[in-house]
Amino acid sequence: MRKLTYADAICEAQIEEMARDENVFVIGEDVDIAGGVYKLTKGVLERFGPRRVVGTPISEEAFCGLAAGAAMTGLRPIVEIMYIDFILMAMDPVVNQMAKIPFMSGGQFAMPVTIRAQAGAGTVEGAQHSQSLEAWFTHTPGFKVCMPATARDAKGLLKAAIRDDGPVLVIENRCLFNEEEEVPDGEWVTPLGKADVAREGKDVTVVAMGYARRKALAAAERLAGEVSVEVVDPRTLWPLDMETILESVKKTGRVIVTHESPARGGVGAEIVRRIVAEGFDYLDAPPVVVAGADLPMPFSPGLEQACLPQAETIAEAARRVIGMA
């Protein structure tokens, strides 16, 4: 199978969907200049021209509002937020308008907006360029949220998001942009709300999202022969594929949830809540969340890494959960 980088997979998804549907367009800062700061719209301008690839002033609130108004009147915007931290400048259009208008209007208006926002930590950029805000939007009724952790899902989930009639936040991870992976040729759509069992195992389930998926897989590798780890990547945080998660927990009886954002009020806590509510009888040990530190991200590289879940911390948690440490 051919290989693509995560970044090229994002570009390819947009090009395919724009070719498929005339009403799809891309808007955001620098998207029309040399493929954007992170080259996530590479080749899109050349193919579709400035009418459909719209570079904006630094005005997140206005261009997110524009996307909502355009979606209400027949278009399907893809909004690029250069860093997810910047979406906080646009919380009114995103949370008060996009997420609520389909409902408040009694279903008259669809809101087919895809927001692509890149996030993640580990690139030494300080507290305002390193947040993982997935919990904010998972907490907002009316929003769907996904976090592709592979090139194949970066393409597949984005295509599904663009075709969805409600607002979808696609959180891309910048530490993965240059990672090359196999991506099937031709039509490749990853349905929203479907988890991926990234590695099969029988002793403990690690539910891992975004970049934490890689760390969970590394932990599983490290524990091979000692503890058999099953890694489940939910891929979409809302709607959440509880069926796959519960099936895994039923098999292993033990569960760790891991993400890079802090544990407080986080998606990990929500997943644990649902496991307890819907699969309490499967549990042989209390569920554990391995998360980022409860701090704004510090700059100094050593401090930053110390604030993130690592393969070793996940492995230690796994040993603890099954009573080996």
């Binding site: 609130e61 206005a62 009147t73 278009l75 009114d92 208008i101 408040m104």
Partner: protein, 332 residues
């Protein structure tokens, strides 16, 4: 568009039917809201009610300058804009009561009346929340190669939100067919404009973005109509965005039936027949021979019947059934 002060003589292109229609729209809004106020006091309407009484000429005049397929975004004080653009008194009143037959099926209420069919992109509970939506509707019209225009109603209160700066810049930069129409009703909740705003007029700010602007008498429906028509025609023909400030007055308190601490003489002045937009326009129509006194009485009686029917329709309509309306397959 040149800056124009209130009180100048209006040479309007509106034909006689349009002039009478604007009176009817204003009367409908006024009587609708008086009924809302009565029903609110009686407990038939609940929630936050922001009345538009006193400002009717702005909605009626501006919407008369629009086509049915043009777009309007409104505010937390949306009844006037909704009636002027959509003109469905029954379903608007039903939405006020949270009924299933309401414009938004009971999911929106007073502040969230929507009508896709008539290009009404909704009231908005967030001050300034419609500014980006109007920008997007105008962007969309151009993208789809139609000649539709979007009008964004907002208040002098909203003019101090940061988003307007972003929107005016983008509207001007891309020459989008959008009209930002500021209803300067003198009060943001209870704060008078002089306490919130460093200049007497709002509209000249638009010049900083290279946008044409005008100030009109927001209590003169023909002045609002003409000013809006000029801006809309320009936008429809590719001339880009514009900014209008309509000077008007919110005759009722900010919200619900709260106490009004404003100066009594000020209130009396704005409610007088010389300032109130409805008697002003009615007297002009009679003076110009477009309407007889008898005709005016008939018109008022017709509006009275419309309102009574709307209230009756709303009252008789069932409330949404929670089991159906909130079920996964039933909800919007």
């Amino acid at each position: 568009m040149a800056a124009k002060r209130a009180g100048s003589k209006i040479n309007s292109a509106a034909d006689e039917a349009a002039r009478v229609r604007m009176l009817r729209r204003m009367l409908s809004i006024r009587r609708f809201e008086e009924e809302v106020k009565r029903l609110y006091r009686a407990g038939g309407i609940k929630g936050a009610i922001h009345l538009y009484i006193g400002q009717e000429a702005v909605a009626a005049g501006a919407c008369e300058a629009l086509r049915p397929d043009d777009y309007v975004t409104s505010t937390h004080r949306p009844h006037g804009h909704c009636i002027a653009k959509v003109f469905d008194l029954k379903r608007t009143m039903a939405e006020m009561m949270g009924k299933a037959s309401g414009l938004s099926g009971g999911f929106g209420g007073s502040m969230h009346q929507f009508c896709k069919e008539k290009g009404f992109l909704g009231g908005n509970g967030i001050v300034g929340g419609g500014m980006g939506l109007a920008l997007g509707a105008a962007f969309s019209a151009r993208y789809r190669k139609t000649d539709q225009v979007a009008v964004c109603f907002f208040s002098e209160g909203a003019s101090n939100q940061g988003v307007i700066h972003e929107c005016l810049n983008m509207a001007a930069l891309w020459k989008l067919p959008v009209i930002y129409l500021c209803e300067n009703n003198q009060y943001a909740a209870t704060t008078p404009v002089g306490k919130s705003t460093c200049t007497k007029d709002i509209a000249p700010r638009a010049a900083a973005y290279g946008l044409p602007w005008a100030i009109c008498d927001g209590n003169d429906v023909l002045d609002v109509y003409e000013t809006t028509r000029t801006a809309v025609e320009r936008a429809r023909n590719g001339g880009g965005a514009a900014f209008i400030e309509a000077k008007t007055y919110r005759a009722e308190p900010h919200c619900g039936i709260i106490a009004d601490g404003r100066d009594k003489a000020e209130l009396a002045l704005w409610k007088s027949a010389e300032r109130d937009p409805i008697p002003r326009h009615e007297a002009r129509l009679i003076a110009e021979g477009i309407l007889t006194a008898e005709g005016a009485r008939e018109l008022r009686a017709e509006v009275e019947r419309d309102i009574a029917e709307a209230v009756e329709f709303a009252r008789r309509s069932p409330a949404p059934d929670p089991a159906k309306a909130l079920a996964r397959e039933g909800r919007p």
